[in-house]
Symmetry: C2
Subunit: 238 residues, 2 copies
Amino acid sequence: MSYEFYYWPGIQGRGEFVRLALELAGADYIDVARCDGGMAAMQAIVDGDHAGALPYAPPFLKSEDLVIAHVANILLFLGDRHDLAPKNEAGRLWAHQLQLTVTDFVSEVHDTHHPIANVLYYEDQKDEAARKAENFLDIRVPKYLSYFERAVARNQTNSGYVIGSAPTYPDLSLFQLMAGLRYAFPNAMARIEPDFPRLSAMHDLVAALPHVAAYLESDRRIPFNEHGVFRHYPELDG
Amino acid sequence: MSYEFYYWPGIQGRGEFVRLALELAGADYIDVARCDGGMAAMQAIVDGDHAGALPYAPPFLKSEDLVIAHVANILLFLGDRHDLAPKNEAGRLWAHQLQLTVTDFVSEVHDTHHPIANVLYYEDQKDEAARKAENFLDIRVPKYLSYFERAVARNQTNSGYVIGSAPTYPDLSLFQLMAGLRYAFPNAMARIEPDFPRLSAMHDLVAALPHVAAYLESDRRIPFNEHGVFRHYPELDG
């Protein structure tokens, strides 16, 4: 089975949560917008020049006739197809629930540098961003990480993963969250992260999975930069 | 089958998208936090005093041993059980994708009055809210509504619903979005809504479904107010 994956070519962004799942699964996929003519192909689908579901925005995945948009929806699909989620109903819903909390968290990360409008430059909303980021680091990050830490602690297998004894797609997303927070807010995370040892350990566990480790070393992994969701602006790193 | 539904008792908020689905389905449910002792019962589950999945926050639904959190996840579950979504894979994913776009939109609605921090009062972030709301009404609302209008137009059955010939859970959510936007931003919506006749018509179609109409007339439907997601602050209604 071969997939076409569509996302902005120069950033990890929201698409990275999908790339990680495709990589762990060892799936055969093309990162279309990074190929010649790919941006036009992506725009054509956003414009609706196809029969399937209409995406609001990238990322989206094409699998034969299916067009699937939204990170959590794509992961729901890939989780079933590639054993990246439990098979039973309770486990599937739990994995998806965790992912939807990741979605909310990622949106708040984005808003630390764009609290007013995504059409404005960061420089045009710096004052608001400073206020937003301060609250984010003081209250929101500890609240979210505390929740995820408790979720991992509730896994009775003690595997270090959040569900059962093997990695599932929420583990990949939690790895990416930790990596992104460390990149964007190194000072704050040096202070915050020691309170969440299970998440630190899981980051390392996921990074060491052979398929993930190979991906992270490859040029398919775009470095973090100041165009994606996780941006390092020292003035926001309280 | 009887459900326990958990959400803040004084507001429509995010929980309303679930209430509408339970009502259209004619499901047997208790709105727990609106009953005696219900707030304590809700807190106990947030605190993890149960065996199932751990919610990050309300709303969540209890169905026998399952605890399911996040609006979109609950609707995924109810959609399957109560024929509120297509049965085939493409249709299920399309319904869920639409719902996840609603989720994003609702988060932006919330941020028009709380752009900096949800722990601060509106009065403490009024300047930022004014900037945020202006961008929201000028750019974001037309962009989202245009997307949903196109989605309805792509439904080849011409039923007026977004998928197939019968109402599915995304229709309920789009009804609620339109109702909420009209409440929060009556001036702006008087200007914006005429560009989206399919969404106006769908609002009326959903409101007239017998189960929905009965619900909207009942005291189970909490009126919009300035504690929920959709708040009417005249100074934000550009």
